[in-house]
Amino acid sequence: MPTYQQHPSSFRDPSGFVFQSAGKLYRQINPSYQSDYELLMGSGLYQQLVDQRMLIPHEEIGDSQVGQPGKFKTILPEFIPFISYPYEWCFEELQDAALVTLNIMKASIDHGMILKDATPYNIQFISGTPVHIDTLSFEKYNESKPWIAYRQFCETFLYPLVVSKYSLMEAHRLFHAYPEGMPAKSAAAMLPTKARFNLGNWLHIFLPASVAPGEKNEKVSFNRNKLTRIIDHLHQIIGSLEPPSNKNSVWKNYYDKDILSEQYLSNKESIVGKMINVEGKNVLDLGSNQGVFSKLLASRQNNVVAVDNDAFSISVLYRQVKKEALNILPLCIDVSNPPGNGGFMNGERKSFTERKKFDLCIALALVHHLCIGKNIPLSNLADLFTKMCSELIIEFVPKEDEKVQQLLKSREDIFEAYNQQAFETAFSQQFSIQEKQEVPGSRRVIYKMKLTG
């Protein structure tokens, strides 16, 4: 029996693989990668990137430790609280991931190395900072060759960003259609004519879309200057992309105008504030909007994942998280249709609901959207929380509520079973209700529950 288990997502790169042993994630480095690894560590590149928070730090594990026989080395990278994917990121998250990839590329060239692959799946967010997590992506730079990962970079970073900017399609939704990147031809087809009159678009999108890929041309002559110019150009294009102004976000003014009243919000904050008694835990805020409660949770040293279907709200929250280095990971996820297992044999990327069991989940003003808006029965909703968390703070919004009435205005009321009694019964199957409190000035009730058994 081996003491390790190879991670199902780690098989594409012959340089090594990630494996789990005793609850920790290690990375084995194979002998074929030895010289590149030694160059990464010896050239000062590793130290510079780690100091600038661009590359995940790791420690080398001694020989007596876990790993496959015949390995060159085993390393233990810093633990990442929650893994996320580009089909869950807002525009600015993808943009920052692209920029850090280019910055790493530039630093690498200075140290005689390059990135052999450039995909958003190599980037993870830690407290609002995009960090490269694949230590084995670096290889010795051959100055006579163009960038091997140029096309991958364009397909997975540049094209989704540019198409999103022009078409107002949200970048994360494009990744659902093109999980491994968008071909130049598809990107070109989605862009309006005016996009052609832009040098950057023309060079990196329309030109590749019209040049048929030929056989590998061994006679190419390239040099460091040319490569640096391309990297700088990509950096300039991506850095100056304005996020598509999301004029049609329904939730834009939620806290400014739309929410019932200021009094209601402050009452809710004080109730929830008292109910939260976790510190330094993994917490999920479902239906976070712009993250008022995520920030409350983060202020108590928790690792917060903030989830909302509205990309605009997530963008607003991400900008703040970035500015204040908050321990919050904002993600664009539709709770009624979260990302499933992805990749080869559905094993490379875990579904959202199976990725982590959270210590606490808060779901405020969410239940009515799922039950009335999406026809999800209360008992099915309870199953979701049973799967995802061990403690729950949840707000029940009754049918008489103004917002529920708005939802019901345009449709037939088929929700006879939607009431407070039914809510308590459905959730009591798996949870024990520990506290319940009505929010003064409304008929909404906030519950604190604990998973039983």
Partner: protein
Amino acid sequence: MLKALLYVDPGSGSYLVQMIIAAILGGLFFFKNIWWKIKAFFTRNKQHPTTKEKE
């Protein structure tokens, strides 16, 4: 011809594109430099930031 297209390495093809892009960017850089020099000649007291950096 078409048959060959189905079996190309994912990285290839972009080599040719990168050569064209680098050539165009290089050309632009060259003309920009000349433009700056002409501008500097006529304005004299105003130097371009890149030339300042070198000093």
